[in-house]
């Protein structure tokens, strides 16, 4: 690391750095293309992971070991993992269809994308036109991690805190929207559950299974009580109760 830092500061490119770059740069590009081209959403995410890993190694190569490791831990380790969670829970066969729902959508997307890239690139170029690079020696004077820490907690502390406040607000907001907190009196402990179970009017035993003592084994067929009545409790509430007709019950004549 130290040798790399020295070399990068001197503006030289070591042999190892060059080899690593020429191995990983094609991989990063393949990952980016694969991410767009993959039909399966999970494969897409995995291609993106490959690109992000390569980017992390590039940061390390550019004498920024801290940001490289943070890239790997935070982006590939945490954020892409969350994406994977969602994709896997949605289902593995949720591949994108290639049919355009809006006419001319693809052309418009390409044009807008190119325009956006031009805007960002132009803005960046104009902003950096007059600046002179201070060099890594000055930036990493007291160590890479210490340099970042000093900037983060002195000059940019307000922006840093604002960002974290924004993230926390978003997380808390999502939790408030998604979480249902039961009131204290609505929570049933074990004693309350048992009392409710043995309360008069509630039958504590298991419900009769559907189709038991009935004419078919369908879950929609209610059970028969010993006196011949149908038991409503044996079928799920959302199913319409359905008894087989005499014609359905009668032998089909297919057996020899």
């Amino acid at each position: 690391m130290t040798t790399q830092t020295v070399l990068a500061a001197a503006g030289g490119v070591s042999g190892g750095e060059e080899v690593t770059f020429w191995i990983l740069a094609p991989l990063a590009l393949i990952g980016a293309i694969g991410m767009v081209a993959a039909r399966n959403a999970v494969h897409s995410a995995l291609w993106l992971v490959l690109t992000m890993l390569c980017l992390g190694v590039f940061y390390v190569l550019q004498a920024g070991p801290f940001i490289g490791m943070v890239q790997i831990i935070v982006y590939t380790g945490a954020i892409m993992m969350l994406f994977l969670f969602v994709l896997m829970l949605v289902g593995r066969d949720a591949s994108d269809s290639l049919i355009e729902t809006l006419r001319g959508q693809r052309t418009a997307a390409i044009l807008l994308g190119l325009g956006f890239a031009g805007l960002v690139g132009g803005g960046l170029y104009r902003a950096l036109e007059g600046t002179t690079a201070a060099g890594l020696t000055q930036a990493n004077a007291e160590g890479n991690v210490q340099g970042i820490a000093r900037l983060l907690f002195t000059k940019y502390v307000f922006a840093f805190e604002l960002t974290s406040a924004l993230l926390i607000t978003a997380a808390v907001g999502a939790m408030v929207l998604a979480h249902i907190e039961r009131r204290k009196q609505d929570k049933m402990d074990q004693v309350a559950t048992m009392k409710a179970r043995f309360r008069p009017g509630n039958y504590p035993g298991p419900k009769p299974g559907p189709g038991v003592f009935a004419t078919s084994s369908s879950v929609a067929t209610p059970a028969r009580l010993p006196d011949g009545r149908l038991s409503e409790r044996s079928t799920p509430e959302i199913l319409p109760v359905r008894e087989l007709t005499a014609q359905e019950v009668s032998p089909k004549g297919t057996d020899k």
């Binding site: 130290t2 790399q4 399966n40 801290f66 490791m69 790997i72 380790g77 993992m81 969670f85 043995f198």
Partner: protein
């Protein structure tokens, strides 16, 4: 004596100067160490658990059963490799390799010893070290989760998918607690490189007590005890070991994410689990137990921390920690999933945050004079004490007697037997007892062993 120590400590400048063959030797050594540790680790675990459960454990293959794992591994390699029809073939193949690669890579930044001479080259006993080596360890463990989650998903079956998601949620949660407890180490050591952290634990301040110089403990396990405890608990959660082995809870989830795996792919998952256990023990040793430095009574001997000896102390500490892993497995029952998550997020995390706050407060008042220090520590401590003393205690609930509970039951409740019901002894029981002869007199010596 101190000068000898300092000369032995590698610094970051000592790395990256090895010739290629030395690098290769070190890498091969780390890999062989990982594989051998797995082979011996499985045997060690089975023997120790066997001892704890008063049974011999594997003792047939080789001396003391040492080759049992090798035999099992060979058998596993020759088993049929089943590929489920619904599996995603490429990802299914890559998932175990991701697990193994991440577990082994973490060993590359673990310092095994100080500077030694290998074939005339003066080099540290460590594959490599960077200024953010501990972050490399964290990155390895966070990438290792991909192996599990992808293995679960690619199997194309519900049980592995649920097991995989469950275990990755678990590992991510415990990684947060783990990372936070390392923060205290960073703050105290002032560096993130593993060799630097080991060096920082070496130069302990000398306490003068009754005229004799006593070295104060420099190990962070003692200086940062809360961090050490939380870190070790988190590593147990991170390596999916009992009592946190929820991902492969046999009684609930079949085998979790590896249900569909067989043959060598399953062996790779097993390998990564044991390598992760050994790696985590090595990391704990490095961060909190002084790394390769000898413990106190041995340090009286001057050569304890130089040459190849420190490797012995290092392996001793690692084996002791692996024993603790096994001990935990032999002792504690598995936690329920919600208890486990609550423990991680609502106990370990807040304690860690408060501890870091206290530690940074203590460090910021380090330069103050004694009076300022006393005020800065005493006032918060006094307030805390007052709050604990004056905290309103819960009002005692009046105890309801059984008779009142019975009277309060709603009309038509299930009939209760009388509370003073006495069951008369069954006459049949009495007859059997009377007719049977004393048990131990007629029992022959051959049935006594049972």
């Amino acid at each position: 004596m101190n000068a000898v120590y300092l000369a032995q400590d590698p610094t970051l400048a000592d790395f990256g100067r090895d010739p290629w063959w030395l690098v290769l030797i070190k890498i091969v050594f780390a890999f062989v160490f990982a594989v051998l540790a797995t082979l011996l680790g499985v045997w060690f675990e089975r023997r120790v658990v066997g001892y704890m459960q008063v049974r011999p454990g594997p003792n047939q293959v080789g001396p003391l059963g040492l080759l049992q794992t090798l035999a099992d591994g060979l058998k596993m390699a020759f088993k049929e490799d089943i590929l489920p029809r619904a599996a995603d073939k490429v990802v299914f193949f890559f998932a175990p390799t991701i697990s193994v690669i991440c577990a082994v890579t973490a060993l590359s930044v673990v310092p095994f010893g100080p500077m030694v001479s290998i074939f005339g080259h003066w080099t540290p006993l460590q594959v490599t070290d960077v200024s953010v080596a501990v972050l490399v360890l964290l990155a390895c463990s966070s990438m290792g989760i991909y192996g599990i989650v992808l293995g679960g998903w690619a199997s194309g079956s519900t049980y592995p998918l649920l097991g995989g998601l469950r275990s990755s949620a678990q590992m991510i949660s415990y990684e947060v607690a783990m990372g936070l407890s390392i923060v205290a180490v960073f703050m105290t050591a002032g560096t993130m490189s593993t060799s630097g952290i080991v060096a920082a634990q070496g130069d302990a301040t000398q306490l003068t007590l009754f005229g004799t110089e006593i070295p104060a403990p420099g190990w962070y396990a003692i200086l940062l005890l809360p961090s050490f405890v939380i870190f070790f608990i988190a590593t147990v959660g991170e390596t999916n070991r009992a009592p946190f082995d929820l991902p492969e809870a046999e009684s609930e989830l079949v085998a979790g994410f590896m249900t569909e795996y067989s043959s060598l792919k399953f062996a790779l998952f097993m390998l990564s689990e044991y390598v992760a256990m050994v790696t985590m023990s090595a990391v704990t040793t490095t961060l909190f137990l002084g790394g390769w430095r000898a413990p106190w009574p041995i340090t009286l001997w001057e050569g304890a921390n130089s040459g190849w000896w420190p490797m012995l102390w290092f392996f001793g500490k690692v084996i002791a920690l692996v024993f603790v892993f096994v001990w935990l497995r032999g002792t504690l029952p598995r936690l329920r999933y919600d208890q486990f998550m609550r423990f991680g997020w609502k106990v370990l995390l807040p304690i860690n945050l408060v501890w870091i706050l206290v530690l940074s407060g203590l460090r910021s008042i380090e330069d103050w004079d004694t009076r300022g220090k006393l005020i800065a520590v005493g006032v918060p401590a006094g307030v805390l004490l007052l709050v604990t003393l004056l905290w309103p205690s819960r009002k005692p609930q009046p105890r309801v007697t059984v008779q009142e509970q019975v009277n309060n039951r709603p009309h038509g409740s299930f009939p209760l037997p009388p509370m003073d019901l006495q069951i008369p002894p069954s006459p049949r029981t009495r007859r059997v007892v009377a007719e049977r002869e004393p048990a131990n007199v007629t029992a022959g010596s051959e049935s006594r062993e049972v």
